[in-house]
Structures are given as C-alpha cells and as structure tokens.
Symmetry: C2
C-alpha cells in the first residue's frame, strides 16, 4: 500500500471535448485504489491531475464494485519545475528506481543518466532502464509531489562522447556545478533561482579525469561539507540548498 497524493490520469482518460470539468468513470486499478487505499466514500474529494496538464479536485459521486464515478474539476497548475538539469552517474538498479522517483518529486525535469569509471558495467543491463520502468517511477514521483509534468530522462552510456559532444550545448548559458570534494571545492551556493546543471557522481565519486573534463566544460566543484552522502541523500540536500526559497 502506498500513499497517493494525486491520482494521475492520462490525457485520453479525460473526456474529449470537455474543458475544465467532467464526469469521469474509472474502472480497474484506479477504481480499486480509490476504494481500498484512499478508502473514499461518496461525497469525499480526491486530488487529481492530467499528465502534462492541470490538477484539481474530484468529488466521488458513486462507487460500486465495477466503477467509481467522479465529478472532476481541473483548475490548478502543477507546482513550478526546478530550473535544473541533473547529470547523474548511473546508480545501482535498486537505487536508480528510488532516485528517479525522488528527483521527480523534487521537481527536476531534465535527468541525464551518464557513465563514469566507477559505474559498474552490469548496471547498464538492468530492466529498470527500460522506458516503461522509468516511466512508472516518474509517475510515482509526480503523484507523490502532486505534479503532472513528466521529466525527460536521457541515457548516455559513454562519458567522453557525452561530455565532449553533447554537454557544451546543454550547459550553454547555465551555472554548471559538480558535487565533488576537492581541496578547492566551494561550499554549494544557496538559493539562486537560475538555470543550473548539476553533476552528481557514483558511489566512490568521479575519478580525477572525469572531474577535469567537467571543469574544462565550465563546471565548478562544490561540496556540502565533510560528510560523504549517498546519492539519494545528496540530491535532496543539494536541491534544497540550491533552490528552496
């Protein structure tokens, strides 16, 4: 059983031709969820959203073994996205799923999974990198944070070609940071609401060659202090530091 702070609908589930209010008839997994997890009764309201669209409230009109009928209104934009592009050395599969969810819930919309010397080759074989599996984690993250805007996940299996051929265009005009402890690393800057590219290494960190390549592309090494954090702990901390007002 998991909490769901928003029931995320696909655009084709919203009746064609209606604008911001509709009577929805949900069956299957969604109806089950409303009945058994949310334990909603007629008259209750559940929060809904349409993928890549608005959010709102839906009043449970009727609820049977076959279907749930909702009177739904879409009137509220999703929470604002973060102005952040995350470059993330591919973590091990179990962590990958959690990190995709967490990054999505934090409002990150551009995620680049990249290779690094310390990424084990076997990680690239995981079924969790299949588009369907990624999509599922992103949806869970959206539902957690009451968001509707699906992040884009890009996969780069080779470090050097990515950094040399693709990163300069991605990084252009943006603040570029790599979370990496160097003697000269700066304290991670705070609350500057500007377009940022943030690179986060694997367990054990980027190797010096990789940090140098990023520095040559305009990245500055930053740190959160003497503690080494797991990637799933470091990302929320870095995001809060960089962007939370």
């Amino acid at each position: 059983m998991r909490a769901m702070n928003l029931l995320l609908l696909d655009p084709q589930e919203w009746p064609a031709g209606t604008a911001d209010r509709a009577l929805l008839r949900l069956t299957g997994r969604r109806a089950d969820h409303i009945r058994t997890v949310l334990k909603a009764a007629p008259g209750d309201s559940v929060r809904i959203g349409v993928l890549d669209g608005l959010t709102g409230l839906a009043r449970v009109e009727d609820l049977s073994a076959q279907e749930v009928v909702l009177d739904a209104v879409l009137d509220t934009p999703p929470p604002p996205p973060l102005p952040l592009t995350l470059l993330l050395a591919l973590p091990r599969p179990k962590v990958l799923r959690r990190v995709l969810q967490a990054a999505t819930s934090l409002g990150i919309k551009q995620i680049h999974l990249i290779n690094s010397f310390r990424v084990e080759k076997s990680y690239w074989q995981t079924p969790f990198l299949q588009p369907d599996s990624i999509h599922q984690q992103l949806r869970l993250g959206l539902e957690q944070a009451r968001d509707t805007i699906l992040p884009q996940v890009h996969i780069h299996t080779r470090f050097k070609p990515f950094v040399e051929d693709e990163l300069p265009a991605l990084a252009m005009g943006k603040r570029c940071l790599v979370a990496h402890p160097l003697p000269e690393s700066q304290s991670c800057p705070a609350t500057l609401n500007e377009q940022t590219v943030l690179a986060v290494g694997p367990e054990g960190g980027f190797i010096p060659y990789e940090v140098e390549k990023l520095q040559q592309t305009g990245f500055t090494a930053v740190t959160l202090g003497p503690r080494i954090l797991k990637v799933e702990t470091a990302i929320p901390a870095l995001v809060a530091r960089l962007f939370f007002p």
Copy 2:
C-alpha cells in the same frame, strides 16, 4: 557490495595502552572487506575510525588469507554533529532502515521515533526496531559519512504521553519546528546554526490534533513548498535548508 568510506572499529579493537598510533591485526569480516571490496594492496591507505573516537588513516602493511595488518594513526576528529533533535513518526520498516542510515550520515545525533495516528500499528512489531538492527543501520550511516559518534535512538510508542510529559524538557531553549503544510506555514528557515527540534510526520502527515499538540508545546509549522516529499527525501532537504553553511 557496498562502499565504505571509513572502516569503523570498536574501542576494544584498538590495542590497549596505545595512544594515537597502533599496529592492528584484523581478521574475519573486516579483513575480507579490505581485501575484496576495498581491494587494498600493501602500501595502500584506508580511512579508519574508532567508535565514539577519532578518525585517521591506516597503511596496509601485510595482507594474507588469514589477516590484514594495518599501521594505523588516529589524528582527526569526526565531522561536527548537527545541533538537531529529530522527532520522526515511525516509518514503515523498509523505510525506517534507510532513514536511520541517512539521518546518521547527515550528522543527526538525537533521533526520537514517535507514534502518530497515521503510523500503522504493525510497524511497531518490526524486527528492525531491535537494538542490534538499529545499531547496524547507525554504523552504516557513520561509515558512509566518515563519522564515529553514534546517534541515540529513543522509542516512544504513545504520542500524547511523549508530547505532554517528555517533549517539554527536550524542547526547552530550542527552536522547535514541525514540517507540516498549513495555510499559515512559514517557509522553512535557512542556515541558523542553533539548537533545533524538528518533527517530521508519517506518510499522509500528522493529523490536526497532533499538529495542535505540537504547536501548544511551542512548535512552529514550516514547509518546503507545495511539493509533498517522502520522509527519506524531506529529511535531507530540511537538514540542508536548516543547517548547511
């Protein structure tokens, strides 16, 4: 296989009578770890620490199937603790383990696991609340962050007696915050290095009665914005916001 940024020794593993330098002979799990995970060779250095003591570097002098011999120096204090007492509604067991590790790696030294209306009763039955299991997660968190100071974990299975009878003494003279979205919730304050008690609710949040009880004890409701985050994402974000310089 997991990374270990520091090899944490028990005080009794440090030879009696020696001060800051000693020849250590490690066998079993520790020797295996140095051989197979750290893949250390004679001449390599590994970071070590003594539980509740100093950290330092140890040079691998000899390495056989039976034992690993280290020339170890203790000369560096562990990273500073956070001035934070965390009150955490008991999460589900799988999350509990991860959160204890993450909270420890962030430098939290006082953790109170508390009850709340939305904590499922079955969560209190988990073997992960046994002292040995908790100790193991705390050690993993210390090794991750190169820390040595074991946090204290306190368990309170009833909300009202804890808040009425124990919390006032814990909270005295400290800034008291509850992470909870209310219409009047303030944005979480930033970087004030003062003694703080932070309460974090369960999935679904504290119920109004619980928030009111905390407010009556001097707690202020704060929020990180419109996104609802999982507890394992919220805690690093709150800590970074509150304390990272």
